[in-house]
């Protein structure tokens, strides 16, 4: 029965295997932990995430980076072509591990001050969510992609509901669960249609079949039909209009540390899923999904930026801003295949999207980290009012927030500007001038609510009985490094832009 069974090459999946092993181990270690602070659990989790990132980078440097003279891309497939390892995947996987690590470091004090959240399970579920993201990023098969997605969204859903005495969190978890199930249903329906049209669940094979259908001028109705559902499911997961309803409630209702986990790293995994399915799998249909993505992008930028103005809660405001930013990021993906597209211009458009996403995640990490640091036992610090006069209470934190807000708003010389500029360049190059004008207009609208936060911090008087800010040295250092990194990339974007371009060029 197993005469022709070969053990698959396990090295490309080393980070995933290590992560799963350690998640089990941490579960056991946590069983014996007596102290309510769970110091050992947290340290092991940090070490696991850091080592996973290192493993990913090591494999990338050792196997994926070296190139033969006339080799454009180097891709390693394993597990019967269900697992793909390329530089794009390695880059995103390392970033995901680091983003989750940073999120957990920021959340630690927040969790210690809230007794109703079980800390051991929190760490383990966060690790499972990370595993789900890694699986999604390196999926080359609809089955593994879907399993990774479920692993991610179910663990995040459980994390949201973990604070049981919090009614808002329970409601948020319920919404996340139901709408996530709906999105999964859409995605699966689209996948089944594509399977029906191409006869394969393997993404590279689907691409091959779609190309063949295109060349032989076969009718692609079924494929496009599946694509519609696929894009709808992806839009749900990414949270762009009109599939955005869950986002503000989940961001607002979840405990801030969980919001940080939902808001940062999964966006990278969602981008990877989008690139794998649309660019890797169905690039032949790019003319079809291009117009869908443009519509989604325009709607998200419009609604996101306008509704964010009306928000008084900073988590809710950031949720609407996330919707707007995801719309902007989609513009880059959509403008890849334009009128005069060569391999070079397509890659440049995707580089812009990738750069946009990475910098957005970096800034989001720091902003939510700051909200976490300002909160205390029994006080969430998530209203705009709580930031009143922050510059008088802590000039350094206010300066950090200033950098982050300016960069999200896209003010020149901050990283958001560079990212927006790169995306707009791609849009203009693809010939969709009206879309570029629209994007600039909505960004201007969006600048208002970011600048309002700065106004509140610097020009309003601090609340008399606001308690002092207490944060450990490590937290402060990490937050400062994170924010300064955002500022530094804004001034010297070439390095990160170059890295994004390089990994994309070596993957497709």
């Amino acid at each position: 029965m197993f005469e022709n069974f070969v053990v698959p090459n396990l090295w490309p999946a080393a980070p995933e295997i290590f992560l799963l092993f350690m998640a089990g181990l941490i579960l056991l270690v946590d069983l014996g932990a007596r102290s309510p602070r769970r110091g050992a659990t947290f340290l092991l989790t940090y070490a696991t995430l850091a080592l996973s990132a290192l493993l990913t980078l090591w494999y990338a440097a050792k196997v994926l980076m070296p190139s033969a003279p006339d080799e454009l891309a180097r891709v390693v497939l394993t597990f019967h072509n269900m697992f793909i390892a390329d530089l794009l995947g390695s880059f995103l996987k390392a970033l995901v591990c680091l983003a989750v690590l940073t999120s957990l470091v920021y959340s630690r004090r927040y969790l210690e001050e809230r007794d109703s959240i079980p800390r051991g399970e929190y760490c383990v579920l966060a690790l499972f969510a990370t595993l789900g993201m890694l699986v999604m990023i390196s999926a080359n098969h609809f089955l593994s992609l879907y399993l990774g997605l479920e692993l991610l969204s179910l663990s995040l859903c459980a994390l949201t509901a973990l604070q049981r005495d919090n009614v808002a969190a329970g409601e948020a978890a319920m919404k996340y669960f139901v709408l996530g199930a709906l999105a999964s249903g859409m995605l699966l329906y689209g996948m089944s249609m594509i399977y029906g049209a191409t006869g394969s669940l393997e993404i590279t094979e689907v691409a091959e079949q779609a190309r063949l259908m295109h060349r032989t001028r076969m009718d692609k109705t079924v494929l496009v039909f599946g694509l519609v559902f696929l894009v709808a499911g992806l839009a749900f997961k990414l949270g762009v209009v009109p599939f955005h309803m869950w986002l503000p409630d989940v961001y607002h209702g979840a405990p801030t540390s969980v919001t940080l986990l939902i808001a940062a790293a999964p966006k990278l995994a969602a981008l990877a899923m989008m690139i794998r399915l649309l660019v890797g799998g169905l690039f032949t249909l790019s003319a079809d999904w291009q117009s869908m993505l443009m519509l989604l992008a325009a709607l998200s930028m419009g609604l996101g930026n306008f509704v964010a103005i009306a928000q008084r809660n900073i988590k809710r405001m950031l949720a609407w801003s996330a919707i707007a930013h995801m719309g902007f990021m989609l513009l880059g993906l959509a403008s890849g295949a334009g009128r005069n597209s060569s391999r070079q211009t397509v890659l440049e458009a995707y580089t812009a999207s990738l750069f946009y996403m990475v910098t957005y995640v970096l800034a989001t990490l720091a902003i939510f980290g700051l909200i976490l640091l300002l909160s205390r036992r029994g006080f969430e610090s998530d209203e705009l009012e709580d930031f009143r006069g922050l510059s008088q209470r802590s000039p350094w934190f206010a300066a950090m927030m200033l950098i982050l807000m300016l960069s999200l708003a896209g003010i020149p010389f901050f990283v958001g500007f560079v990212a927006k500029f790169a995306v707009l360049e791609a849009v203009v190059f693809s010939g969709h001038y009206w879309l570029a004008v629209l994007a600039v207009f909505f960004s201007l609208v969006g600048a208002f609510f970011y600048l309002r936060v700065i106004w509140i911090m610097y020009f309003d008087k601090a609340n008399e009985n606001a308690s002092p800010i207490e944060a450990s040295f490590a937290d402060k250092t990490l937050l400062s490094v994170n924010s300064v990194l955002v500022a530094a990339i804004g001034i010297f974007p070439q390095f990160l832009l170059g890295a994004c371009g390089y990994v994309l060029a070596r993957s497709f």
Binding site: L20, F128, A158, R164
Partner: protein, 214 residues
């Protein structure tokens, strides 16, 4: 139309009816029972496709374990039907409209001349090929990666379920003999040093409610 096709349509009709009743039944217990019927007929359809193992698993796992558990849960919960039905008529027109539009659009695409099912006759298999054995071999060889991922997913579900449902028990009022034996006098009896009370100064004792002197 041969007998097998007739059976297929018979089972499909029951399946569709049961599935419809799952969402329309007023009583949640009836809905669950209809779901069991739907699963059972689906297993019958799978049998027609010669997938005996899957049919067996569907009956054993879904009906035997999952649905029975589910039935228990539904019976234990006191579901307020009137609250569930609140706003049903208000949302019905919009829901029906959207559903009809989606169904119509899908029908237009799927009913087109390009949408056809490829010839899907079953490949003839030798009588000595075991369905179960082949499935098992595929699961641990070709599909080992998704198989392991499913295991991770289930482990995560267990962790999440325990974290969400487990409550630390309140200290129960029970007697621990070992602790009773180990007790020492110092645990039960506390000697408190109290100085002997002397007579208070005369002016305070005579006028307890006197005004404080200037």
């Amino acid at each position: 139309m041969d007998f097998k096709t007739l059976l297929f349509f018979f089972f499909s009709a029951i399946l569709l009816f049961a599935a419809l009743r799952v969402i329309t039944a007023k009583n949640p217990v009836h809905a669950v029972l209809n779901l069991i019927l739907a699963f059972f007929t689906a297993a019958c359809v799978w049998l027609l496709l010669e997938a005996e193992f899957l049919a067996l698993v569907l009956v054993m796992v879904y009906i035997g374990a999952v649905m029975v558990l589910f039935l228990f849960v539904v019976m234990m919960l006191d579901i307020d039907l009137d609250r569930l039905r609140q706003g049903f008529w208000r949302y019905l027109p919009l829901g029906v409209f959207v559903g009809l539009v989606v169904a119509l659009e899908m029908a237009l695409v799927l009913g087109g001349e390009y949408f056809y099912a490829p010839d899907a006759s079953l490949p003839a298999t030798a009588a000595d090929v075991s369905n179960t054995r082949e499935l098992g071999a595929l699961l641990v060889s070709r599909y080992v990666y998704p198989f392991e991922l499913t295991a991770a997913l289930l482990l995560m579900a267990i962790v999440a379920a325990v974290a969400l449902a487990f409550r630390d028990r309140k200290p129960a009022r029970r007697v621990d003999p070992a602790e009773q034996i180990r007790v020492r006098a110092a645990d039960r009896l506390r000697l408190v040093h109290m100085p002997v009370e002397t007579d208070a100064p005369a002016e305070d004792a005579t006028a307890p409610d006197a005004q404080p002197k200037e």
